[in-house]
Amino acid sequence: MLKIKNLSVKTNNIEILNNLNLHIKAGEIHVIMGTNGSGKSTLAKTIVGHPQFKASKGEILFEGQNILKLAPDKRARLGIFLSFQYPTEIPGVNNASFLRMAYNTHQKSQGHPALDPLEFEDLLQNKLKIANISEKYLDRAVNAGFSGGEKKKNEILQMAVLEPKLAILDEIDSGLDIDALKSVANSVNSLKNKNNAIILITHYQRILNYIKPDYVHVIHKGQIIKSGDKTLAHKLEKKGYEWLITNP
């Protein structure tokens, strides 16, 4: 589904990702861990086409197509989704209208009919249940004044509505209370199937008690320096990053 080959990325002429490689197949869950500033969010933002991060080398193939030149909205309509580490607040833009427009734009690009507000309302009820978020957030402006945890749940709601093929979840577990963590993990599990894939960026082993990864990667100075299975996350939790960085 996703093939990243020798990817180097710069912002403001500083190299942040350096010759990074990553292969993801449909049905897989990949965890990415790494110290602060190692390049995890940069990788996520580069995949979805953030204008600040430009590839200076390498390619990103999504279902065989090099997406590096595609605009962010095109990539989204291909089925790539990023749950942001820090979701943007958008005052004045109604959450429900935004969700419907996003949904209908995806429908249209797949040759499906758009839903009117009432039809969409029905669909949303189901999605609200999956995301375990109250419908009172629909009437508010997108993320505006939402608490940290509410923002994360709103990202999950968007994921539930858009049903992406590839979902990148950047620290979806940061700032969540114990119940919310369980709830978000359950949502992710119920959205997971054999046709889609997930990249889960996290600092903590804790969320992996609920979401079972196929692979765990460690990123350091913009490169993946170690890959393994979920036991790697346990090892990191116990020993920290030092042992890996000094003798990878």
Binding site: V48, G49, H50, P51, A71, P72, D73, A76, R77, F81, L82, F84, P87, T88, I90, P91, G92, V93, N94, S97, F98, M101, A102, T105, H106, S109, A141, V142, Q158, L162
Partner: protein, 237 residues
């Protein structure tokens, strides 16, 4: 041709006036609000040229809620003077202008707080495209006896092109010592982070921009509580 219209809102009366000019205008409205009266004044000008003067006098306990929507052809000038002449007289002025081509919007307000314990809130928003121009001059004058006045004034401009221009001239003249007064102005283009967020969910640039522009306008449109007017306005925009 200039002409005058006088309107009196009698004691204890609650009234809504909707002024939708269809032709170019040059009118002076003189409105007197008696004790305990309430007036909602909605002034919609679409694709016309106009210079209007609106002078409103408020007595004790009266409250005024003005909403100006201006889409100029050439130039629209709104001159608004409010005299708060009694205790608990409150006025709200909200305005949204959408200006294209080489058109101009000029809003000039003068709020006289002539008596103690009155309030005024002003929010003037402009969406400017192409080579358009906006000017907001607002003077808040708090007279010597007008203690415990609360006055707010804000001008916000959204520039959709590099060639649009906006000017804000806020002025405060405060002669009383126990007052709460705030004013400010901001001018900016579409927020790139907001735009990217919407795009990352699949909205085209055009859809995303429209959504953000409507979001900017919404704050003013939401002050209109009459459903029919609100609907037709949303269509217009």
């Amino acid at each position: 041709m200039a002409h005058h219209k006088s309107i009196i809102i009698k004691k204890n009366i609650v009234k809504t006036l909707i002024l939708t000019e269809k032709k170019d205008t040059d009118i002076t409205y003189n409105i007197t609000m008696q004790k305990n009266s309430k007036l909602t004044l909605i002034n919609i000008k679409n694709n016309i040229k106009s210079t209007d003067h609106t002078n409103i006098i408020l007595a004790e306990n009266s409250s005024l809620n003005c909403i100006y929507i201006s889409l100029p052809k050439e130039t629209i000038e709104n001159h608004i003077q409010v005299d708060l002449n009694g205790k608990n007289a409150n006025c709200k002025l909200n305005s949204l202008s959408i200006v294209n081509k080489e058109n101009k919007i000029i809003n000039k307000t003068l709020i006289n707080h002539n008596f103690s314990e009155s309030t005024s809130d002003q929010l003037f928003k402009n969406i400017l495209n192409d080579h358009s121009y906006s000017e907001f001059s607002g003077l808040i004058h708090i007279k010597r006896h007008a203690q415990k006045t609360k006055a707010n004034q804000l001008n916000k401009n959204l520039l959709l092109s590099d060639t649009a221009k906006s000017i804000a001239k806020p002025q405060l003249k405060i002669q009383a010592d126990n007052v709460k007064c705030a004013h400010g102005s901001s001018t900016g283009q579409i927020n790139q982070d907001e735009l990217f967020y919407l795009q990352s969910r699949g909205l085209t640039i055009k859809q995303a921009k429209t959504m953000l522009i409507m979001g900017f306008a919404k704050e003013i449109i939401d002050f209109i509580t009459i459903k029919k007017v609100k609907k037709s306005l949303e269509k217009l925009l």
